[in-house]
Amino acid sequence: MIPAHYIGEGWKHAVLILGAIIVILPFYVMLSYSFKSPGEIDRNEGGFFGAQEMMVDERCIVVGGSREDCTFRPVVFNYGKAFSEAPLLRYLLNGLIVTLSIFLIQVAIALPCAYALAKLRFKGRDFVFGMVLFCLLIPVHAIALPLYIMLAKVGLTNSYAALIIPWTISVFGIFLMRQFFMTVPDDLIDAARMDGMSELSIVWKVMLPTAVPALLAFAIFSVVAHWNDYFWPRIVVTGNRDLFTPPLGLREFKGDADGSFYGPMMATATIIVTPLIVAFMLAQRRFIEGITLSGMK
């Protein structure tokens, strides 16, 4: 006979597996269709990888390619088209430039401010901290419209600056770092002052190293949010493909796509989603810590 606690464990797994199937389903669809030929996608056959039989790209023939040049394995066709049909590499590079710039500027602004709020005494400190607490209430997406108008007035829309500027101030980062710095013993800072260090070098050479774990979590939080962000780039970048971030590039692809282009579109989606998913798999604990950072108070 099966002991009762095994049965209990069993139905829990059954429920969770059912949930897991639904959660994974779109990832499965995405990956599978990025491998298949248009015909297999239409007829919904070929299992996960598709048969990978050679296929002929009709469009390529129409524009005058020879039959040999226009025959591909579906997987090569899909991923090849993802890069050749649109400047996907450029989009990925833009994503990298934007997310990294945002993170670095956020830290450069937030760290000294957090240090001053936590460890220095000056007039107006409580007022500034109150301001930080108030600004924590404002979701930046919600004020996108006035921000857009301001940027348009100074002629900055359709530029890297427009993609980066609204995110340069992370009140959440200031708040988080301040809470962290509060726990750093004063003796450490006093000792550094005795040694003749300036306040600025204390921030970067004493405080920064103590804050590495918190900073890493914040980095993940920030990079994930801005790599995946679609709303803000959609608003400030209009038409100029050179500035597209990865989600914008994929959206453009969808706009142009007809039936035969589902494969390359899914390949593009896979390429955009993979970097973060792989990083997450490699450092799960850190990622979960980073993403749920806003939950720890």
Binding site: H13, F27, I109, S198, M265, M266, V273, Q284, I288
Partner: protein, 318 residues
């Protein structure tokens, strides 16, 4: 920079940016919401509260408020409940915890826009996987399970699934006005509940084991009793936080709507963020967009203030 002026230099840039990037826009939006301002047309007219009156009365905007309310009131309770349920189940497992945790967290990491496009594809009325699977299930064991015909007083042929099978007519999902908003809600839940699960798992580790044992000693024999008397109250602060953050996130839904339905069919998925985008950015009706922005901010501030109030009241016992 002397050490006496250091605080000024340290705090100055942050304060300046807070003023310019976060506070000034609210004031600007507030001002513009009383005008008919549009970009490239500098003479804005003062229109008083006309924009706000439109939001309250015009059918486009009442539909907007309605679909936003449906979305938030569907996605928040379900994604919180699923998050809690998954966390409780996973927490009580003997093995396999990390695997489930990883899988349920995947959607949180993936770009929502990309996954929305994949869902659209899976939900395609004719070649999509979902309708294919539903059609394949007709006449098999699956149908007999899901047409609920085995329940007393239920006529299997008249249930949703029984009907769809009999007529071989499955929903158009995103293109059907009766289904579109629910489909968008579903994607929102799919994407967000893993985040709630992780927060609840963190909350669960904070409950001391002794408390559970004590409750058991005191007569809370069933798992449900222990949940009701110990776990749920102890998770109070987590729940307040999870509900708040889920609400704010669902108020901001945009990616799925923009990419999949453009607010349609017949404005059934016309949520607020999309309305701001369409009115202000696409149609250059900045005054109207600003008014929606202000209404939006009021909602979000209200939710956050309720949260702060609950936290002050100490919903926690730890």
């Amino acid at each position: 920079m002397s050490n006496r002026t250091a605080p000024l230099w340290f705090v100055g840039p942050a304060v300046l940016l807070m003023l310019v990037i976060l506070i000034a826009p609210i004031i600007i939006a507030g001002g513009l919401s009383f005008t008919d301002y549009s970009l490239g047309n500098d003479g804005a007219r003062w229109v008083g509260t006309k924009n706000y009156e439109k939001i309250a009365s015009h059918s486009t905007y009442t539909k907007m408020l309605r679909s936003t309310a449906i979305y938030v009131l569907t996605v928040v309770p379900i994604s919180v409940a699923l998050g809690l349920g998954a966390a409780l189940l996973i927490n009580s497992l003997k093995f396999g915890r990390d695997l489930y945790k990883t899988i349920f967290f995947l959607p949180v990491m993936a770009a929502l826009l990309a996954m929305a496009i994949v869902w659209e594809f899976a939900l395609h009325p004719t070649i999509g996987m979902v309708n294919d699977t539903l059609a394949a299930g007709c006449g098999t064991l699956i149908q007999s399970v899901f047409d609920w015909g085995w329940l007393p007083f239920v006529n299997g042929a008249e249930t949703w699934y029984g009907h769809a099978c009999a007529n071989n007519e499955f929903p158009l999902w995103l293109r059907d006005r009766d289904y579109a908003i629910w489909t968008i809600c579903f994607i929102g839940i799919w994407q967000g509940f893993g985040f709630n699960m992780v927060l609840y798992l963190a909350g669960l580790t904070g409950i001391p084991r002794e408390l559970m044992h004590a409750a058991e000693m005191d007569g809370a024999r069933s798992a449900w009793e222990r949940f009701r008397l110990v776990t749920w109250p102890m998770l109070g602060p987590t729940t307040v936080f999870v509900v708040t953050i889920s609400s704010i996130r669902s108020f901001q839904v945009f990616d799925t709507v923009e990419a999949l339905t453009s607010g349609g069919p017949s404005k059934t998925t016309y949520v607020m963020m999309y309305a701001i985008y369409e009115k202000a950015i696409k149609q250059n009706l900045m005054g109207m967009g600003a008014a929606i922005t202000i209404v939006f901010l009021v909602f979000v501030l209200f939710i956050t203030l309720v949260q702060r109030y609950l936290v002050e009241r100490k919903v926690h016992y730890a």
